[in-house]
C-alpha cells in the first residue's frame, strides 16, 4: 500500500487507513519513541503515545503535506508530541474530538546541535546533571524531555513520592545546578543580556 493511499483512506475517515499506517510504520515509530523517551516513560506510556499518535494522525490526515515530509516522519512527529503531552500531564483520556495539533512544532530549533567537547559550560552542565541525587535527576530529565515542565502528579506516582516533594526536589535541583556552575566559574548571562524581557 502506497503512503498516499493510506493518507487518502484516513482522509475519507476509513479506520483501515490507520491499520495500514501502523503495519507499515508503527514499529519504527514505537522504536523511535523508545529511544527518545524510554528513560523517562514506562513501556505502557510509550504504547499510549503511539496509540494517541495514531488517533491524532487519523483525525489530522487532511493536514498531511507530502511536500514537507514523508508519512513516516509526520506520524513520528505526532506520536512524539503525544509522548511530550504525557510527560506534561496534558489531558488525553477524553473521548471528545481533539483539536488538530500542528505536527511540526512551532518551537523548531534551527540552531545546530551543540558539541559538549567544544563547549566547557555545556560539558560541566551535563556533569552537574549526572551528579544530582536520583529523584532530582529524574525530574530534570523529564522536564527536558517534555519540552517544558513535566507533570508533578505523574512524577509523584512514578517515584512513589508526593507532589510537594516533586516541587521541592525540582527547585533544589535547579539551585544545585546553578551553584555548581557558579562554583566551576561559569558566568550565566542574565535574561536581559540574552535578549529577553522580564
Amino acid at each position: 500500500m502506497d503512503d498516499i493511499d493510506i493518507v487518502l483512506m484516513m482522509m475519507e475517515e476509513d479506520p483501515e487507513g490507520v491499520r495500514w499506517l501502523l503495519q507499515k510504520y508503527g514499529g519504527k515509530v514505537k522504536a523511535g519513541l523508545r529511544v527518545k523517551f524510554g528513560y523517562v516513560l514506562a513501556e505502557p506510556e510509550i504504547d499510549e503515545a503511539l496509540n494517541w499518535g495514531a488517533f491524532k494522525a487519523f483525525r489530522a490526515a487532511q493536514s498531511y503535506d507530502e511536500r514537507r515530509s514523508s508519512l513516516r516522519t509526520w506520524f513520528y512527529t505526532i506520536a512524539r508530541n503525544a509522548a511530550r503531552d504525557i510527560l506534561r500531564g496534558e489531558e488525553r483520556r477524553t473521548a471528545e474530538p481533539l483539536e488538530h495539533n500542528p505536527p511540526w512544532n512551532a518551537e523548531q530549533d534551527d540552531e545546530p546541535p551543540l558539541d559538549p567537547r567544544k563547549d566547557k559550560a555545556l560539558s560541566d552542565l551535563k556533569e552537574a546533571v549526572e551528579a544530582l541525587p536520583r529523584l532530582q535527576k529524574a525530574i530534570i530529565e523529564a522536564d527536558l524531555a517534555s519540552g517544558g515542565k513535566a507533570d508533578a502528579n505523574r512524577l509523584a506516582q512514578v517515584h512513589g513520592s508526593t507532589v510537594n516533594t516533586i516541587y521541592v526536589a525540582r527547585s533544589q535541583a535547579m539551585s544545585r545546578l546553578r551553584e555548581e556552575m557558579r562554583r566551576r566559574g561559569h558566568h550565566i548571562p542574565s535574561r536581559a543580556a540574552r535578549g529577553h524581557t522580564l
Binding site: R19, P44, N51, R72, R92, A95, L144, R170, M174, M181
Partner: protein
C-alpha cells in the same frame, strides 16, 4: 524557586535540550534518525485494538501498569509472614490446645488400627460391589 534560579534554568535547559536527545529535528534529520532505529513490527492485537477504538470514535487507551517496585524487594516475605499470622487459629500456639490436638490425633490413629473398613452402622463390609 527564586528569579536567579529561573533565569539560570532558562539558559541551562535551552543548552541541554540542544545537546541532549530533545533538540527539535528537521524532517531530514528525523528521517535519518528513524533509519537508525530497529523496526519492531507491532503485534496484530495491538493494531486491532487501536483500529477498533478509532472505529468507535474513542481515543485508544493503554492503562499504565502500576509500579510497586518502590515497596522494596523484601515486601513479599513480610506479607507472607502476615498471611501465616492471620491464618493461624486462635489458641493454636497454646500448650493446652496443642496437647488436646495431639490426643485427638493419637485417638484417631488407634481407631484406624481397629478397623479401617468399618461401615457407618458399625458392620463389616460384605465385599459386594468390589
Amino acid at each position: 524557586m527564586n528569579t536567579g534560579d529561573m533565569e539560570f534554568w532558562e539558559w541551562a535547559s535551552a543548552k541541554l535540550r540542544r545537546v541532549h536527545r530533545h533538540r527539535e529535528m528537521t524532517p531530514e534529520e528525523m528521517e535519518a534518525f528513524l533509519d537508525t532505529v530497529e523496526d519492531e513490527p507491532l503485534p496484530e492485537n495491538q493494531i486491532e485494538e487501536i483500529v477498533a477504538s478509532i472505529r468507535a470514535g474513542l481515543i485508544p487507551h493503554q492503562e499504565p501498569a502500576p509500579d510497586f517496585s518502590w515497596l522494596g524487594v523484601n515486601r513479599d516475605t513480610e506479607v507472607e509472614e502476615d498471611i501465616y499470622q492471620l491464618a493461624r487459629n486462635k489458641g493454636q500456639d497454646d500448650e493446652e490446645t496443642l496437647r488436646r490436638i495431639e490426643e485427638l490425633r493419637l485417638r484417631e490413629l488407634e481407631d484406624d488400627g481397629e478397623s479401617t473398613d468399618r461401615l457407618a452402622d458399625g458392620t463389616e463390609p460384605t465385599g459386594e460391589g468390589h
